[in-house]
Subunit: 105 residues, 2 copies
DNA sequence: GTATATTATATAGATTAACATATTAAGTCT
DNA sequence: AGACTTAATATGTTAATCTATATAATATAC
């Protein structure tokens, strides 16, 4: 639904592919069934925080709440440190996730 | 349940208080009923991503998935930029959120 | 002591995530 | 073609969020 949600879904998929994991393998590590991962990556569900954390953990990612005004700094920082996990910068104009003022649907 | 979830809950509460908002006011801005915010801040629910995003947005926070190894850099960065929102550094040993290997009870 | 404001709890109902499992589809390889 | 792997979908069931509303608890005023 949300642009945000979709972007997180894309980030998860990119991170999984970057690590060379199949949905089933990731599912085993994270304790989430493959079918559900598919739905998550396709933005078909509004997943719960515990699921997001489990997946992030299995992908060596951390969930962070950062002040919006310091987002740019975080973005450039992350982009520099490991473009592989986040994905190619050309493909992801907004590094990990960004939240527009409004008007997404 | 999770240490992680609890930490995010605490972060949300701190951010709300830092902005001088009541649960009801935040609820109006985020479209989440006050009662539910209470439960979220107390870690009584495994909230959905859409709820987390709605609250973060109303608090001028952004949700980010950062590589674990670049977390320290992000932490110090955020800590420096606005200690008010995150809270007093002395009170929050781990800036915003951190995910231990395991062993949370 | 009586208002007022904020937060914590409670109940009931609607929606849906999450699970297990299976199957389909699509790609790769020998 | 057949065997294999991966991903997308489907069904049915369970468990939980989420909403609305109301109330209790707690503090802070007047």
């Amino acid at each position: 639904m949300n642009y945000t949600t979709e972007h997180i879904a894309r980030t998860l998929r990119k991170a999984r592919e970057a690590k060379g994991l199949s949905q089933r393998e990731l599912g085993r590590k994270a304790g989430v069934p493959q079918g559900h991962i598919s739905k998550i990556e396709n933005g078909a569900v509004d997943l719960r925080l515990s699921s997001l954390i489990a997946l992030a953990r299995a992908l060596d990612l951390e969930l962070a709440l950062v002040p919006r005004k310091s987002l740019p700094a975080v973005k450039s920082l992350v982009r520099g440190s490991l473009a592989e996990v986040i994905g190619d910068a050309r493909l992801t104009p907004r590094p990990l996730y960004s939240l527009d003022e409004e008007g997404d649907d």
